[in-house]
């Protein structure tokens, strides 16, 4: 069964029902920008990996008059989500929401909801809506790949990643579980399908993002047991640290740095506006500039590599300070670390398209760290799916 086989899925008769649906194991990296969901089975076979934008819009009116942008499944992502157990919860994030995502959201004139770094993910309702939506989407894909939708409610076992600040306290993890656990009914009107699934609190596993990266690395290419290693994971809106020493994953630093790729975009936008005496460029424009070092203003293409470098230095400086504090709290010296692994798109940006006008964020951080420990190596983790794969590894190791 292959969820990513969209041709087969398109041909699925969603009216067909059967009872042959086993529990679904799901790993989910709930990023601020993109959510990566991975379906796997207890035998260690991954069945499908989907990247879907985390942004969504809640509809208060019908959008039936808007046609599908194209024939892709991700262009028909309108869903009505009902939490049948909302009445039993003390802090239900929602009871019924009408949500639209993907290209369809783009063509509809609707207000987009994002997660923010100003509050913990556990405290934000978008985290739950996103999680439930993506669970439903993955279950729908799995069902289509199996040739029929489930007749009954499907149990879902889910492993999700959170920033370290959300995983350091068992109370907060329990709160997340109590808010997410429930019985859900999700209808995709543009796909003529309704599915039902249940997530029990005991079937929810929460792992910090940098720990998931460390588990991914250990599972993929085992770390030397005699050495110590650092892990820095940077996302769209926050970053976190983790360490492995003597073959043991240490505690996280409890502080999540509120800096990420979006912070870098904002700094660059401000610097460019100041330098060129213009309005702040949009994130989209800045994103493209990050690949080339140039920004298109009006009819002109202007080199803004100095602004990009300055922003990277600022972010690297924040990460460096946070990381050294985290080392202190784990009783580690800089020179003890033989290697620091960096994961997250922002670390490698500027090298994506071969541009050399601005060194990567990892290079900037490496330059700072070298002053403390000249013999510590830095390595970029290339995979964008390190976290979600690490989550799967962690869950597989716990499956009895």
């Amino acid at each position: 069964m292959e969820l990513n086989n969209f041709t087969a899925i398109k041909g699925c008769d969603f009216a067909r029902r059967n009872t042959q649906h086993s529990p679904m194991f799901l790993a989910m990296d709930l990023g601020s920008t993109e959510t990566r969901s991975l379906v796997f089975n207890s035998a260690g076979e991954s069945q499908g990996l989907i990247h879907l934008d985390s942004n969504y819009a809640i509809l208060s009116r019908g959008i039936d008059h808007i046609g599908n942008p194209d024939d892709e499944l991700s262009s028909k992502l309108e869903a009505v989500i009902i939490d049948r157990t909302a009445g039993n919860k003390t802090e239900a994030p929602f009871s019924k929401v009408h949500v639209v995502k993907g290209k369809l959201r783009n063509v509809a004139d609707v207000h987009v909801v994002n997660t923010t770094a100003n509050a913990s993910k556990i405290d934000q309702d978008p985290t739950y809506i996103n999680c439930v939506f993506n669970t439903a989407y993955m279950l729908l894909l799995r069902s289509a790949a199996m040739g029929a939708l489930p007749e009954a409610t499907v149990p879902v076992d889910i492993t999700v990643s959170m920033p370290p600040e959300d995983t350091i306290s068992q109370n907060r993890i329990d709160r997340f579980k109590s808010r997410l656990a429930g019985q859900y009914q999700v209808t995709f009107p543009r796909l003529d399908s309704t599915i039902q699934f249940e997530i029990k609190a005991e079937d929810i596993t929460v792992i910090s993002e940098p720990n998931a990266v460390a588990i991914y690395q250990q599972g993929t290419d085992p770390l030397d047991q005699e050495s110590a290693f650092g892990f820095i994971d940077i996302g769209g809106r926050s970053a976190g640290y983790s360490f492995v020493r003597g073959g043991v994953l240490l505690e996280d630093n409890c502080v999540t740095e509120p800096v990420g790729g979006n912070t870098m975009q904002n700094i660059i936008a401000t610097l460019v506006a100041d330098k060129l005496n213009i309005h702040r460029p949009t994130n989209d424009v800045v994103n493209r500039a990050l690949k080339t070092g140039n920004i298109k203003i009006g009819s002109r293409m202007i080199d803004i590599s100095s602004c990009i470098n300055a922003a990277k230095q600022e972010i690297a400086s924040t990460l460096f300070n946070g990381f050294t504090t985290a080392m202190d709290s784990n009783n580690l010296q800089a020179q003890q670390l033989s290697k620091i692994f960096c994961s997250g798109r922002s670390f490698g940006v500027s090298q994506d398209e071969g541009g050399i006008k601005s060194p990567s964020l990892m290079n900037a951080l490496e330059g700072m760290f070298r002053l403390r420990s000249p013999y510590t190596d830095f390595q970029l983790i290339d995979s964008q799916d390190a976290i979600v794969t690490g989550l799967m590894y962690a869950r597989l190791c716990a499956v009895e």
Binding site: G44, G102, L276, I297, G298, G354, M392
Partner: protein
């Protein structure tokens, strides 16, 4: 003008050896540069090789197309044509796509740019059409492949209780 070099673009363009060397040197100095900003009128040296190149280019073009710009028009070059020509030449030399921006006069700030009211083009605009603000997930055919199957026993040996005991 020295020995002539021929580089194949769409057809053949003849440029002088010095122009070829200048461009080659620039490409060699910046092997990964995607964009080269060439401010016309900013530097005598750049002007010299540009005008030399355009002289050749327009001479050649005039020979085949009587309506094309003459050699004399090279001093007032068409920027669209300039950009296209530079891009083609650099691509041919460098064997890969490059971006080129040729503009007239100094570009110090947008205010200067606007008041000058100059005609400017940019080949970067080729891939620069999106105005979308928000991120949208990749299309179906660009979705990543799932990770390969895992040997559970091997995985448990690597990421077992001893690895996670510090948690």
């Amino acid at each position: 003008m020295g020995e002539e070099k021929k580089i194949s673009i769409s057809g053949t363009i003849t440029i002088s050896a010095s122009v070829f060397e200048s461009i080659s040197a620039a490409v060699e100095l910046m092997p990964s540069v995607l964009g080269i900003y060439i401010p016309l009128g900013e530097s005598d040296a750049i002007d010299a090789w540009l005008s030399e190149m355009f002289t050749d280019y327009f001479r050649m073009k005039a020979e085949f197309d009587p309506t094309a710009k003459s050699k004399a028009a090279a001093s007032n070059v068409d920027l669209n044509e300039t950009n296209q020509l530079l891009r083609d030449i650099l691509r041919a030399i460098n064997k890969r796509p490059v971006g080129v921006v040729a503009t007239q006069g100094m570009m110090t700030s947008p205010a200067v740019t606007q008041s000058a009211g100059e005609a400017t083009t940019s080949v970067f605009a080729d891939n620069d059409t999106s105005t979308d603000e928000s991120y949208v997930s990749p299309p179906q055919d660009e979705q990543p492949a799932p990770p390969p199957p895992v040997d559970i026993n091997k995985l448990r040996n690597r990421v077992g209780a001893s690895f996670l005991k510090g948690k």
